[in-house]
C-alpha cells in the first residue's frame, strides 16, 4: 500500500503486544497438513528435520514436539546471555544455528534430564483457537523479529521508543525514554491505552500523569468506546495491554499476557475480547489495522536465524552493541486491509510499527526517528509496506465462540519472583507514593499490594 492509500484508508492503528512466545512455538505447526497445511509459512514443516533439533547435555538430540497448552513448571531463560547461548552461532554456518535452546534451558533451570524440554514444544491450533482463527483469516508475518536478542524490558523499550537504554530486564523503574506517546502528542495524533490489568507504562515515571487521565482506560471500556465514541474524541492510535503476569496484582484473578509459566488460554480469551470489540463497529473496523505480536520469544525455540541489524548501546553504557535482531516472534496483521489467509515475508520488527505511525501521521518523507530510520536502512520494513492495495474487505469473519481449553490457578496477587515483577512492585509503590489518592481511586487494586 502506498503512503497516499495509507493516509486515505487507515484511521486507527491498534497495537497488541503479548509476552514471550516464539513464532515456531505458536504458529510453526500451521504448515503441517493436519494443522492447516499452510506450506507457504516458514514453520515446522517436519518434526524430524535434523536441522531443527537441539542437542541436550546428555548427548541426545531433542526434536520439536507437540505440547499441550497448560501451566509450565517454570519460566524459560530469555535474558541477553541466555539468548546468545540459544542462538549458538558457528563459523561453520557463518551465523546463528539456533541449536542452543535446550542447553540454555538446562543451565538456567539447573536440570539436565527432561525428555521433553519446554523450549522445543510447539502448540497446535486446537489449543490456540483465537490465534489460529486470526492467522487463518488475516495475514501472518513470518519474518517479524524481536528487535534485539534480549528480554522484556529492552524489547518493549525498543517497541515504544525505537531505542533502548538497557540491555537486560532489571529490577526498578524504566528509564524515562521518549515514547511513541510523546511523538504522537508532538504530531497532534490522539492516542489511548486500554489495559486488562496494570499498564506496563506504570514502570515509566514520565507516564504517571497520563495514567491518571482518561487516556488510560480499562479494557471493558474498549467495546463501548469503539462503537459509540464520536469522531471528535476518538483516538487514532490504541495500545491494548493484557494483564501482565509479572504484575503483583490481578483484578480479574489471573493474568493474560501468555508469559510462561502461564498457559495460553487466558491470553486467547483476551485477544478474542479485543477482536470482538474492534469488529463491533463495522464502519470503523474497515479503517483499522490491528497488529498482534509478542515482545520476545521467551526462551522458546525458533529455527529462523535473526537478521544482522545493529543496535548501538547508548553513550556510557557498560554493555556491547547488539549486532542482530532477536528471535522471530509471532505476528499477525488483523485488518480489512489484508487478504484472507495471506503471508507477509518482509523483514519486520517492533520498530516497524513506529515506522507505520510515521508513514500515516508524520510529515511525508520524514522518518519516525534517526534510530528507526537506521533500522529501515538495515532492512527492517514499515508495516505500511505489507498492507494490501485496493478496497478493504467487506467481510468480518466471526471468531468462534467455543470454550477455550486450558486452565490456571487464580491468583489475585503474588510476591515478586524476578526482576520484571520486582520492577512492577517498585513502580506501583512509587506511583502510589507520588500520586496518592488519585492513583488509588483509579487503580484500586494497587491497594491490595500496598496493604500491610
Amino acid at each position: 500500500m502506498n503512503l497516499q492509500e495509507l493516509r486515505d484508508r487507515v484511521d486507527t492503528i491498534v497495537i497488541v503486544m503479548m509476552e514471550n512466545r516464539s513464532f515456531d512455538h505458536l504458529l510453526g505447526s500451521m504448515c503441517q497438513s493436519q494443522f492447516g497445511g499452510r506450506a507457504d509459512i516458514d514453520g515446522i514443516k517436519s518434526m524430524l528435520d535434523p536441522n531443527l533439533a537441539n542437542p541436550a547435555s546428555d548427548g541426545t538430540l531433542v526434536f520439536p514436539f507437540i505440547m499441550k497448552d497448560g501451566p509450565l513448571t517454570n519460566d524459560l531463560p530469555h535474558e541477553r546471555d541466555f539468548v546468545a547461548m540459544q542462538l549458538a552461532p558457528s563459523n561453520i554456518t557463518g551465523g546463528p544455528t539456533m541449536t542452543g535452546f535446550v542447553k540454555a534451558y538446562e543451565k538456567a533451570t539447573g536440570t539436565s534430564g527432561v525428555n521433553d524440554p519446554p523450549p522445543m514444544g510447539i502448540l497446535t491450533p486446537p489449543d490456540l483457537p483465537t490465534t489460529n482463527f486470526l492467522a487463518r483469516e488475516y495475514a501472518i508475518c513470518d519474518r517479524w523479529f524481536a528487535p534485539i536478542p534480549a528480554s522484556t524490558q529492552p524489547n518493549r523499550l525498543m517497541a515504544m521508543s525505537g531505542y533502548t537504554e538497557r540491555d537486560n530486564t532489571i529490577s526498578g523503574l524504566l528509564p524515562n525514554q521518549d515514547t511513541l506517546f510523546q511523538w504522537l502528542d508532538a504530531h497532534q495524533v490522539p492516542w489511548r491505552v486500554y489495559s486488562a490489568g496494570l499498564s506496563f507504562f506504570t514502570l515509566m515515571p514520565r507516564m504517571w500523569p497520563d495514567l491518571l487521565t482518561d487516556r488510560f482506560r480499562r479494557l471493558p471500556a474498549l467495546s463501548f468506546d469503539f462503537q459509540h465514541e464520536p469522531d471528535a474524541t476518538r483516538p487514532n492510535v490504541i495500545v491494548i495491554e493484557p494483564d501482565y503476569d509479572d504484575s503483583p496484582v490481578h483484578l480479574s484473578g489471573h493474568s493474560s499476557d501468555n508469559h510462561p509459566p502461564l498457559p495460553m488460554s487466558f491470553g486467547e480469551a483476551f485477544v478474542r475480547q479485543v477482536y470482538e470489540a474492534l469488529t463491533s463497529n463495522p464502519g470503523r473496523w474497515q479503517r483499522t489495522v490491528m497488529i498482534l505480536t509478542y515482545d520476545e520469544h521467551g526462551g522458546f525455540h525458533d529455527h529462523v536465524p535473526p537478521i544482522p541489524v545493529k543496535c548501538s548501546a547508548p553513550p556510557g553504557a557498560s554493555y556491547p552493541d547488539f549486532t542482530s535482531t532477536g528471535v522471530r516472534v509471532p505476528a499477525i496483521v488483523v485488518s480489512p486491509l489484508v487478504k484472507r489467509g495471506s503471508l507477509k515475508r518482509a523483514n519486520l520488527d517492533h520498530t516497524s510499527i513506529l515506522a507505520l505511525l510515521a508513514d500515516r501521521f508524520g510529515q511525508p518523507g520524514v522518518p519516525y526517528s534517526d534510530a528507526v530510520a537506521a533500522r529501515a536502512t538495515a532492512g527492517i520494513a514499515s508495516v505500511s509496506t505489507i498492507l494490501d492495495s485496493g478496497p478493504p474487505r467487506s467481510d468480518i469473519p466471526q471468531i468462534p465462540s467455543t470454550a477455550i481449553p486450558g486452565f490456571a490457578s487464580l491468583q489475585t496477587w503474588a510476591e515478586p519472583v524476578n526482576a520484571m515483577s520486582n520492577s512492577f512492585a517498585t513502580a506501583i509503590e512509587q506511583f502510589a507514593n507520588a500520586h496518592g489518592a488519585p492513583a488509588l481511586e483509579k487503580y484500586p487494586e494497587i491497594a491490595h499490594w500496598l496493604a500491610p
Partner: protein
C-alpha cells in the same frame, strides 16, 4: 499524600518476603537399566518436597540441599517443589529405564568440536557417563529419518560408514556412554561457512541393557 510502603524494607534488605528458589535438581544417571541406582541431588533456598509425578507418587519431604538414591523400574518424572507463604518454585527431571527405544544422539555444529573442511563436516557427540548407565549398551544404530547425508562414525574403537536411511549392528554391545565421532559428506550446494551446512549431525541409537 504519602503512603506507607510496608513491603519495601523486606524486599530490599531482608527479603523475608521472597518466594523460594531452586538452584539445581539433577537425577544421574537418568538413562538407566532396571535395578540401577539413580542419585538425586538438589539445591534450593529452603526445604521442599520431591515427588514422582509420572506415575503419580506420594511426595517426600526433603531438606533444602541433599542427595537421595532411588532404583526406578520404569520411566518416571520427578518433581521438586519448594514453597513458602510468598510463592513456590518447581523443577522436573526425568529418569528413563531403557527398553531398546530408539534415541537420537548427536551434536550441533556450534559445538567447539565441530570442523568443516572441504566436503567433510564433523563433530563429536558425547554421551556422558554421568547421564548414561554403565549397563546401557548399543543395540544398533540407524540414520536419522530425514538425513540425506552419508556418515562415517567412530565409537569405542569401532568404525562404520552409514548410508542415508541405513542401519548398522557394528556397535552392538558397546557402551552407549563415551564419545561418538560423527562426520558426514556435504551434499551439492552445501558449503562450509554458510547457512547451507547442516546444523546438527546425529544418528538414531537403540539403547538396551546388558549384564
Amino acid at each position: 499524600m504519602n503512603l506507607a510502603i510496608p513491603r519495601s524494607i523486606p524486599l530490599l534488605f531482608l527479603c523475608a518476603g521472597c518466594p523460594p528458589a531452586i538452584y539445581s535438581f539433577h537425577a544421574n544417571p537418568h538413562r538407566v537399566c532396571g535395578g540401577d541406582s539413580v542419585t538425586l541431588d538438589w539445591n534450593a533456598s529452603k526445604d521442599g518436597k520431591i515427588s514422582v509425578v509420572l506415575p503419580k507418587g506420594t511426595p517426600v519431604s526433603v531438606p533444602a540441599q541433599g542427595t537421595a538414591s532411588i532404583q526406578p523400574t520404569s520411566v518416571i518424572r520427578l518433581h521438586l517443589e519448594v514453597s513458602n507463604l510468598w510463592g513456590s518454585a518447581g523443577r522436573d527431571d526425568d529418569v528413563e529405564v531403557l527398553t531398546g527405544r530408539s534415541i537420537p544422539v548427536g551434536q550441533s555444529v556450534a559445538d567447539p568440536s565441530a570442523t568443516c573442511e572441504g566436503s567433510t563436516l564433523a563433530v563429536i557427540a558425547t554421551a556422558p557417563v554421568e547421564a548414561w548407565s554403565a549397563h546401557a549398551l548399543v543395540g544398533g544404530i540407524a540414520a536419522l529419518a530425514e538425513d540425506k547425508h552419508a556418515y562415517h562414525i567412530e565409537h569405542a574403537g569401532v568404525k562404520v560408514d552409514l548410508a542415508p536411511g541405513g542401519t548398522s549392528q557394528a556397535f552392538k554391545g558397546t557402551p552407549v556412554a563415551g564419545a561418538w565421532s560423527l562426520s558426514l559428506t556435504l551434499l551439492d550446494g552445501e558449503k562450509c561457512g554458510s547457512q547451507t551446512v547442516p546444523h546438527n549431525l546425529g544418528i538414531q541409537l537403540a539403547a538396551v541393557c546388558g549384564p
